[in-house]
């Protein structure tokens, strides 16, 4: 990776991606490149369009306008091939509470066509990789929030994805559980070299773990670069004696009424959805 962080081969490229729910435009001309092997953070206020953009990349939503490619494959045309490259952990907690941890992971081994002889071993390694080997045969409904998140990570990792997409993997977790999730992600990533695309509202996490971040607001990327570079740029604007953090960059981007529109993040609907996510287990 070069110094300003631009990678050689792209894991994800979005050009002019647009998506609307009825009259509400959620993603509004998104241009984004995630390099292979990066840990890339997609940041932005509630309602910025991060989840919608991710759902377009994961083939969950169609791509009505613009182009999305995953490792060169057109997401709109080559769905099956794209899905084989993906591991996905959605924003809401999504393990099946009426199955054990092992059964949850095993299902994903099956639907990713892991041959039978290899299945048990692979499932065990995935559970081991997220520190759930001990709890594997308990019902997922009895897991804590942090354990559910790690279980979902195991589900995503069992197929050895080249691109791991995590939508707010640490939402609603205590600081120790958050570190736990991140350490498991980074360990697997170090061994496998997979690309990680992650969204988070915790600027300290983004700063610590992401090679590059993009700040989204009102459906579009407003700033992109290494955390270091973004803070440096803001410092250059504020004057030499300021020492802005990534959070200040976030406030700078999200607080500005871009395109004349008011800051519309944090609407009731957005906040409620986030809180639902935080409270639901399994």
């Amino acid at each position: 990776m070069s110094d300003d962080g631009l990678p050689e081969e792209a894991a994800v490229t979005c050009t002019g991606l647009r998506y609307s729910f009825g009259r509400a435009t959620a993603v509004d001309g998104l241009d984004l490149t995630v390099g292979a092997g990066e840990v890339f953070g997609l940041l932005g206020p509630n309602g910025a369009g991060k989840t919608t953009a991710i759902r377009c990349m994961t083939t969950l939503l169609p791509v009505p306008s613009g182009m999305v490619r995953v490792f060169g494959h057109d997401v709109a045309k080559d769905r099956m091939r794209v899905r084989r490259l993906l591991g996905y952990v959605p924003q809401q907690l999504s393990a099946d509470s009426s199955l054990t941890g092992r059964e949850n992971v095993s299902l994903f081994a099956r639907v990713f066509d892991v041959p039978r002889r290899e299945r048990a071993g692979r499932v065990a390694q995935a559970l081991e990789a997220v520190g759930l080997a001990e709890a594997a045969d308990r019902m997922a409904g009895t897991y804590s929030g942090g354990m559910v998140r790690r279980l979902e990570l195991a589900q995503a990792l069992v197929s050895a994805p080249r691109l791991l997409i995590l939508d707010e993997p640490t939402i609603g977790l205590d600081p120790i559980a958050r570190t736990g999730v991140w350490e498991h992600i980074m360990a697997v990533r170090a061994a496998s070299g997979m690309t990680v695309l992650v969204t988070t509202h915790y600027m300290d996490e983004a700063d610590q773990y992401c090679d590059r971040v993009a700040l989204m607001h009102l459906g579009r990327v407003r700033a992109v670069g290494t955390p270091r570079r973004l803070t440096d740029d803001l410092r250059a604007r504020l004057g030499a004696d300021a020492s802005p953090t990534l959070e200040d960059v976030f406030r700078d981007v999200a607080g500005s009424g871009l395109d004349g529109a008011d800051h519309k993040g944090g609407e009731f609907r957005d906040v409620r959805r986030t809180r639902n996510t935080a409270s639901r287990v399994g």
Binding site: T58, T59, L60, L61, M80, R83, R84, L86, Y88, P90, Q92, L93, S94, A95, D96, S97, S98, L99, T100, E103, L107, F108, A109, R110, V111, F112, D113, V114, P115, R117, E118, G121, R122, Q125, A126, E128, A129, M139, E152, Q155, L157, V158, S159, A160, P161, R162, A187, V188, A190, A191, S192, R280, G282
Partner: protein
């Protein structure tokens, strides 16, 4: 061949421990040929259903109550009153296949609710991001509903046998019973997934499910032969797949005259139609 990496890929000295521990997670599984995809997904969904049944059997017991009541109260009473023309067999016997079909239909119709729950809880969303074509996912879910229905059918058969209904235990006939129940519940579960795709919320689906199950049941030959129906009802019964399922079950279990070829043709056609419609609407659920 895809299982070959029993030896982990070469690792740098410091990463060796990690590589060992994560060896299998570094190699993506090989693709299955397309023609094996659907059977493999069907198997995966059925396994999940069986695992759930193993963990929680209460549903199995509570679901046995209604059919038992139908057979004991309704069946015994009408056997005594003896007003329904059954073609010479006791009404209790005549009713048993109808109750098998009815109780498995109920399970299948409410399977759509489980799908909506899976949507709300994100389980379905994640499955849609796996290399599983919509049609394979729906077929898998349809047969998984069938697994539940077959378990229910076994329970009702046991209750009926305890009540003294004389049934055929010919393995070939029983295999036919399983096939009919499987196809019937594939259709009804897909019907409910289709409705789920249209109405999209659990409450609405509950309402519609409740509104259609009884009419489907009464407008069929499950309780009485179509010959005793008014003409308009007979027309509805003739387009109701439940009637064909009941007819097949009666023929197979009781050995009474039936139209097995027609019955199975209709059931296969209905299941195929249901799977097509449900796959087309599944995407709407994810949105």
């Amino acid at each position: 061949m895809s299982a070959a990496p029993a030896t982990p890929p070469p690792a740098s000295a410091d990463g060796a421990g990690e590589q060992d521990r994560l060896g299998l997670l570094l190699v993506p599984p090989r693709h299955r040929p397309a023609w094996r995809l659907i059977p493999a997904r069907v198997a995966a969904m059925c396994v999940v259903e069986l695992q759930k049944l193993r963990h929680d059997r209460t549903e199995l017991y509570t679901r046995a109550i209604q059919p038992a009541l139908w057979l004991i109260i309704f069946g015994e009473t009408f056997t005594r009153i003896n007003v329904i023309p059954t073609g010479g067999i006791p009404y209790r016997d005549y009713l048993a296949p109808g109750i098998i079909a009815q109780s498995t239909m109920f399970i299948a119709i409410f399977y759509g609710i489980q799908i909506i729950w899976e949507r709300d809880s994100g389980v379905l969303t994640k499955l849609l991001v796996t290399p599983t074509p919509r049609a394979a996912l729906v077929t898998g879910k349809a047969f998984a509903a069938g697994v539940k229905a077959i378990v229910q059918a076994v329970v009702v058969v046991v209750i009926a046998a305890l009540l003294g209904v004389s049934m055929s235990w010919n393995p070939l006939h029983l295999a036919g019973v399983i096939a009919a129940v499987l196809l019937g519940s594939a259709f009804f579960s897909c019907l409910s997934v289709t409705i789920a795709g249209i109405v999209r919320t659990r409450d609405r689906l509950m309402g519609i499910g409740q509104a259609i199950t009884m009419p489907l049941f009464f407008a069929s030959n499950a309780l009485y032969p179509t010959t005793s129906m008014p003409d308009w009802l007979r027309v509805i019964s003739a387009i109701n797949p439940l009637s064909y399922e009941v007819d097949a079950l009666r023929g197979l279990l009781l050995g009474v005259p039936s139209h097995l070829t027609l019955d199975f043709a209709v059931l296969v056609g209905a299941a195929a139609l249901g799977i097509t419609a449900a796959s087309a609407l599944l995407g709407r659920l994810a949105r």
